[in-house]
Point group: C2
Chain length 113, copies 2
């Protein structure tokens, strides 16, 4: 609290977390995992129309590598994999809420001179 950022450090800090969420599908994936929801790979494929296997796998790998999503493999045939948010992944909620709030203000606040 009361922490002060210079434009440079604040921007790079925010930019860093933005990078973690970049890509066309990551946010959609995160929302489908909210509230501790578990989803299998095939569940996410069905829940996100238009996403390709390649992108789903790739984005999940990155989210996992960044510590936002956890992957649990059940060693059986055929294989079963479940994805969920890590604790840190859940912690992004307030930030996403704030962004939604900002989006809502778009029609309320003046945007011109």
């Amino acid at each position: 609290m009361g922490k002060v950022y210079t434009p440079a450090t604040a921007a790079t800090g925010v930019e860093e977390v933005f990078k973690l969420l970049e890509g066309r599908w990551k946010l959609v994936i995160l929302f489908h995992l909210f509230d501790g929801k578990l989803q299998r790979f095939s569940d996410l494929e069905k829940l996100i129309p238009g996403i390709s296997q390649k992108m789903l796998a790739q984005q999940l790998r990155q989210l996992e590598a960044d510590g936002i999503v956890a992957r649990k493999l059940y060693p059986q045939v055929p294989p079963k994999v479940e994805y969920r948010l890590t604790d840190w992944g859940q912690a992004i909620c307030p930030a996403l809420d704030a962004l939604l709030k900002w989006a809502e203000q778009r029609d309320e606040l003046p945007k011109a001179d």
Copy 2:
């Protein structure tokens, strides 16, 4: 408040505002305009080392078209242009703060099982 979003609508809502902030330089530009700061084109060029004229102009155009940044042209020779945040542009502050807070929790919260 208490508004409930389905994964789909919430994701697209957040994704929409994310799109507005996408690009490698927009956040940096926004931070240099915080607190009602006025900046000329050449000021921003100096403040943001590494950015090209093309990108600075392009990102400013988009921020302006999206109602986040306002552009004021002084009709004189040589031309003078000042940029500042719109009211809605200023309103993004809390969201950016929340993202910074999330970034800070990265070392505090467990990221694995």
